[in-house]
């Protein structure tokens, strides 16, 4: 076990994969000479050289599409998208091209590429640099979508992503880059497998990314015995683990840092409700952000993503009543 920051865990995972497989190449904006705006590629250019590690122009469609092409021809490209919103201009290459190549080649082509992107609110970057946007990709068959919650998962998920034969998007909560944690570099996560952050008996909380940490604090604050499932992979998500947990506890809350409408949590709640209807002790529900852009103002942004206080309030509600609680903006009469 080695203590490292999340961003260092990302560097370590990339370096380990580049050492293990010479087909792994890495490019993005200011990732080589400048070692990444978030210092997520420190020392990579120095160790692996300019053939495998490249700075790109500000041309996300061009270089992300180039990763698709290079992947089809046998390389394993890893590209960095500085802020997930920048993938917006490259969406065609990811969703409509990359995700369809295996299907459209009758299975003769694979696209072993990895897209890393920083995501999330909380740092005052405003509404065009603070979204998580996992739902842009979660409904695209052919993609795999991962999100780490700490240094260990940042390491293990990135290694798994690079090793995977299909296009994988790793969404890295920007707010965690500087967080420290113990990392066991022998651990490579299986894509599609959730991780249990805590185990308990009264309720199942499913969360993703930084919301796992928020949920963990909320469980402590609420003083309850809960299974905390760190989903880690959004597609394909770990039905087995989630269903087994809810079968045991009879209660489910999903905590998402994404707008209320169209989130991945709806899929989880729908599946659990359909399959475990008779075992449920209370209505499964989601805790999400409101359907609003991420506000810049610090006080407002602090209320945007679910907070541990609010998650704790809703956990207590779920344990005492059978119906779902109202989101804070309804409970406080701020919005409908």
């Amino acid at each position: 076990m080695t203590a490292m920051r999340v961003r260092q865990a990302i560097v370590a995972a990339l370096a380990d994969e580049m050492r293990a497989d010479e087909n792994v190449i890495f490019f993005g904006e200011d990732v080589a000479e400048a070692e990444g705006p978030f210092k997520t590629s420190e020392g990579i250019l120095e160790e692996f050289g300019p053939v495998r590690v490249r700075d790109t122009p500000i041309s996300e469609m061009g270089f992300t599409g180039a990763a698709v092409g290079a992947a089809m021809m046998g390389l394993k490209p890893v590209v960095e998208i500085m802020f997930i919103e920048f993938l917006g201009v490259a969406l065609d290459q990811v969703v409509t091209e990359g995700a369809k190549m295996r299907y459209l080649s009758n299975g003769t082509l694979s696209v072993p590429m990895t897209i890393r992107a920083s995501v999330g609110s909380g740092l005052g970057f405003g509404c065009q640099h603070s979204q998580t946007l996992e739902h842009w990709f979660a409904s695209t068959p052919g993609l795999k979508v991962l999100m780490p919650s700490d240094a260990q998962s940042a390491y293990s998920l990135l290694r798994a992503a690079i090793q995977d034969p299909d296009p994988v998007i790793v969404l890295e909560p920007r707010i965690l880059y500087a967080e420290r944690g113990e990392v066991d570099t022998s651990k490579v996560t299986k894509i599609g497998k959730a991780s249990m952050r805590a185990t308990g008996s009264d309720i199942t909380i499913v969360a993703l990314g930084h919301m796992v940490n928020i949920a963990e604090a909320a469980i402590k604050a609420a003083g309850v015995s809960a299974d905390l499932v760190d989903l880690q992979t959004i597609i394909p998500w770990d039905r087995e683990t989630v269903l087994a947990s809810v079968k045991k506890t009879g209660r489910l809350i999903v905590v998402e840092e994404a707008p209320q409408s169209g989130g991945w949590g709806s899929e989880i709640v729908a599946t659990v409700t359909a399959q475990l209807f008779s075992s449920l002790k209370s209505a499964p529900f989601r805790i999400t952000t409101p359907d609003v852009p991420v506000p810049f103002n610090g006080g407002l942004e602090a209320r945007f993503a679910p907070t541990s206080d609010d998650v704790a309030r809703q956990i207590k509600h779920a344990l005492s009543q059978s119906g779902a609680p109202q989101p804070w903006w309804v409970a406080e009469g701020v919005a409908k």
């Binding site: 705006p37 122009p57 500000i58 041309s59 469609m61 920048f86 005052g124 506000p295 103002n297």
Partner: protein, 332 residues
């Protein structure tokens, strides 16, 4: 209280007022930098030190009814086009008094009373928008024009090429202004682009193009003016490349340690404030003493403003839920 439009109108035909606004921008950015360092500003800021002449040259060539789609390096554009230092700093500090009510932040300036469309934090994001605004003016048979202001790095993104092509085939009343400040984020333009003169890219769209000295307000007015006249008279779009220099790093996170030795110093000799001062002194419109006085007064005034803005009200919680959709019309 002075409105944005009054502040804009005060600039036309008044070189001294333009110089004073340039000083305002320079001192404003110094204060922004200091406030960020002190923890009073969160998130990020992208300073426009050294790019004042381009902003003022455009502000005084365009009419307040023309529209401009700019970028996250937004403070100079906003102040030059008329936004008050209070509304700009208020936005940067997330206050209710900011031009976007505090929900936008440093990268997002907007004031439709002087034609400033919301500035975009996405490279090239404003370019199709400016072309679209010009399309509206063309359809409406208005004499207004659209302007896109973007950096050198944006010339490598699809939106640049698509916007230029579209504007060319539809002969849109739009001016594309590339602020070539030599650096795209942390990369020198020559490492990401195979040509030095970015304006020649207009050739492939059969579009008139030119390079101008972006450090000299007169050169900016002359070049942009020619493009504006063409657009306004139905002659279609122009690509103007203003040669400037980014005196600061890309954002607050960037110390710009990658600059070649001596490059900054070389460009500082072409500092737009210095160039303007030399011009105004030669024309006997101002003395060095008056310049020094103006700078210290501006510094003091903006310092006092910063203190005031720090205690401005925060936006109400309801601001988070406002302006998502257009409200339904009453009675419907």
């Amino acid at each position: 209280m002075t409105t944005s439009l009054e502040r804009r109108n005060a600039l036309y035909g008044n070189d001294l007022a333009c110089y004073e606004r340039m000083v305002e921008i320079r001192e404003f950015e110094k204060i922004t930098n200091a406030l960020f360092a002190a923890g009073s500003i969160r998130g990020t800021t992208h300073l426009a030190v050294g790019q004042e002449a381009l902003a003022l040259g455009m502000a005084t060539t365009l009419k307040p009814t023309d529209v401009i789609a700019g970028t996250y390096r937004s403070h100079a554009l906003a102040l030059a086009f008329g936004l008050t230092p209070h509304s700009v700093l208020g936005e940067i500090m997330g206050k209710a008094t900011g031009c976007c009510g505090g929900v936008g932040g440093s990268m997002h300036m907007c004031d439709t009373s002087v034609g400033v469309l919301p500035t975009s934090a996405i490279i090239g994001g404003g370019m199709p928008i400016a072309a679209g605004a010009a399309l509206a003016f063309q359809v409406q048979k208005s004499k207004n024009i659209g302007v896109a202001l973007f950096g050198d790095g944006a010339t490598n993104i699809g939106a640049f090429h698509e916007s230029l092509n579209l504007a060319a085939i539809w002969k849109l009343p739009v001016v594309f202004v590339c602020d070539n400040n030599v650096y795209g984020e942390y990369s020198r333009i020559n490492t990401t682009t195979p040509i030095d003169d970015l304006h020649i890219r207009a050739e492939s769209y059969a579009m008139p193009h030119m390079a101008i000295d972006g450090m000299d307000i007169h050169a900016v007015r002359k070049g942009i003016g020619e493009a504006v006249d063409r657009a306004r008279s139905g002659g279609g779009p122009t690509l103007v490349e203003a040669k400037t220099y980014r005196f600061s790093g890309h954002s607050r996170a960037d110390q710009a340690l990658y600059r070649p030795e001596g490059e900054l110093e070389k460009w500082q000799k072409r500092d737009p404030l210095l160039v303007t001062e030399q011009d105004l002194i030669a024309r006997k419109l101002i003395t060095q003493d008056q310049i020094d006085q103006m700078k210290s007064t501006m510094e003091a005034d903006l310092g006092a403003l910063a203190k005031k803005v720090e205690s401005d009200p925060e936006p109400e919680l309801s601001a988070m839920f406002s302006n998502i959709w257009t409200p339904a019309k009453a009675g419907k």
